[in-house]
Symmetry: C2
């Protein structure tokens, strides 16, 4: 197994307006994307990889000028890897509203000539999928071999199967959910409140004030990070380990877990955009495809045509296996072909990004099956 | 069952210095407390009720001028209630460092003539117990019929059994834990970081600036509140219920759970002291009686003499039943008399404060047994 090596992002500027679920429309916008592997002659081997909250189009490989900037799913995508780029043409696309290159809150709003800031429309999973479909058009891909994602990326894959049923043969939904729970929404809203009430947020126009609401972003990330790890994993990795031999009797760092979380918060707040954090968490909250079917997920999935691989992780308490069961049950009720695996992994929600032989071998086997269909 | 009716807090000023675990000593300090019922002739019917994070000495009844200010455990303590004030003399005491009357961060530090602020010593569960023991001395109580508490209050009850084994006959530990997990500490530290990084915190000296770090306190309380409720209970009470029929596509309130949590945060930030929040969460983090016994809780509990009632709640994910099992196992290893009950309640950690017939009847039965020993 080796890396896809040096990659370079590409951009495409769309000039036809994109009507969004909120009713607004984006007059023109740019999507940033990367591709790995070769599109075959009949354009049947394309796989779209959708990203989650803090990731981007940079799925695999490194940049020539940034040899340490490894793609976020590099253990999954590459030559000889589970999603094998010698077989498949893989596309990573950065979503609208992101802070990693596609049109987002820190770009100019053509209708005002000013930065979007908090005025950037609250985009949804479905909006992202529509934008991704246009990119597929540009690339000449009428049908994906698979659309794949973990967490929020899994929601996009699921939405693809409902919105463009003819345009994907397989749908791979990892560590995801058909909708957020009240507790999921609660954690998202606390994170948003931390950002919005940071005096440096300035109603989203912090760019104009040359500040960043770092305090709020830091707290938001710390909260998020707790929900990505399992209780057991945190206990195993950190427990009550201390930085020094005795309690400090102050408000600095006593425990390693404090140090770790503060570090994660500091790191995140240095690179992530606050407005992007707000809108992505809203996209998570709003995803609920059964909503227009009286809450009936089976009905919502009735017009899907793809075959499905659904994967969950036992210690994931953010999107627990039960949430995947809901998806699987609804698909089975529709007599769809579904492969479901519940991986007994200790790493909580983050497991979908980590090395786990059973998980990676399962995905490998699934894509080997898809590859056979290509021949 | 009726209320204890109108009650009035009392204070006692202590002038003998109290040496704290941090090494500092409090030259003089005041404890605020309330009592309900009558102390019997041989002073054998006293029960000490220890409070948790955001509560106080006001355990039961109401104040003459505040008829709606009902004590925090009024469903537990009163005439004919589980802890029956016709049988027992019940004491509620406000802990050092609190913001509800006992000496705390918003009081004058006699050694500087200024408000303590963030300089108030980081007190521990053990410090509180020492202070409570002095109050017992003042009241002439050499041995409690029981010391009782839920959550952080349960830690104090447990500490009593180890620190003053001869001074209590029963120890009632509800929804508690022998030490916080990494995840517990993580949530506490995010809350502290939200407060400390609020520009209105001013290093703890916000009193001098006539401001309150409301934003930080609000986020801290929202985080805390999520951990007090069970996932199921939140799903049942709020689910994805919305405030209006459709998504707002903005950052106001879409979901009822957002409205509820923001309201809880607003309310809390209007009355709770930020420095108190910091020090109480540190007291939680630091509690770990097994620490000086190489992590061996059985050894830590070896010199206890009391009989124990330990209660946990199935859906409590803050201090789960497994944490109570640790206490029970250590006590059983020491051949202590232990009654343990795991109440199948839907309300998460908050269940210890709520109406639940099985729970309240269990505590009632236990105290009836204690009452019989008095005769």
């Amino acid at each position: 197994m080796s890396s896809v090596g040096i990659v370079a992002p590409q951009t495409h500027c769309f000039t036809a307006p994109l009507v969004l679920q909120c009713g607004a429309s984006m007059a023109d916008y740019t999507l940033m994307y990367e591709t790995y592997g070769q599109l075959n002659a009949d354009k049947s081997n394309a796989v779209l990889v959708c990203h989650a909250l803090n990731a981007s189009h940079h799925v695999a490989g490194v940049y020539a000028d940034q040899p340490d900037n490894i793609g976020w799913w590099d253990n999954m995508v590459g030559p000889g890897k589970p999603l094998d780029t010698t077989q498949f043409f893989v596309i990573g696309v950065n979503n609208l509203g992101s802070c990693f290159g596609s049109t987002g809150p820190m770009h100019i709003n053509p209708s005002t000539g000013k930065l979007y800031g908090a005025d950037f429309p609250v985009v949804t999973v479905e909006d992202w999928v529509n934008a991704q479909a246009r990119l597929a058009d540009v690339l000449g891909i009428t049908q994906f071999a698979a659309v794949m994602g973990g967490s929020l990326g899994g929601m996009q894959a699921l939405a693809w199967s409902m919105m463009y049923p003819e345009r994907l043969r397989h749908c791979v939904v990892v560590a995801s959910t058909p909708k957020l729970s009240a507790q999921n929404i609660a954690f998202n809203d606390v994170a948003r409140q931390a950002i919005i009430t940071d005096p440096d947020f300035h109603g989203g126009d912090f760019y104009a004030h040359n500040v960043v609401p770092k305090r709020g972003l830091r707290v938001a990330r710390m909260i998020g990070h707790i929900t990505y790890l399992s209780n057991d994993d945190m206990a195993e990795k950190f427990g009550r380990d201390m930085r020094s031999n005795d309690y400090q009797f102050g408000y600095g760092v006593d425990f390693e877990i404090e140090s770790y979380l503060r570090y994660q918060g500091d790191k995140f707040s240095a690179y992530f955009d606050a407005n992007t954090y707000l809108l992505i968490t809203k996209a998570l909250d709003y995803f609920d495809p059964a909503r227009h079917y009286g809450g009936d997920l089976t009905q919502a999935l009735a017009n899907t045509r793809a075959q499905f691989l659904v994967v969950s992780f036992t210690t994931d308490w953010r999107f627990s296996p039960e949430r995947s069961h809901e998806i699987v049950h609804a698909l089975v009720s529709n007599q769809r072909r579904v492969t479901y695996a519940e991986i007994d992994a200790p790493h909580g929600h983050d497991a979908f990004l980590l090395e786990d032989a059973r998980y990676l071998n399962l995905v490998r086997a699934y894509f080997e099956r898809i590859a056979k269909e290509l021949r």
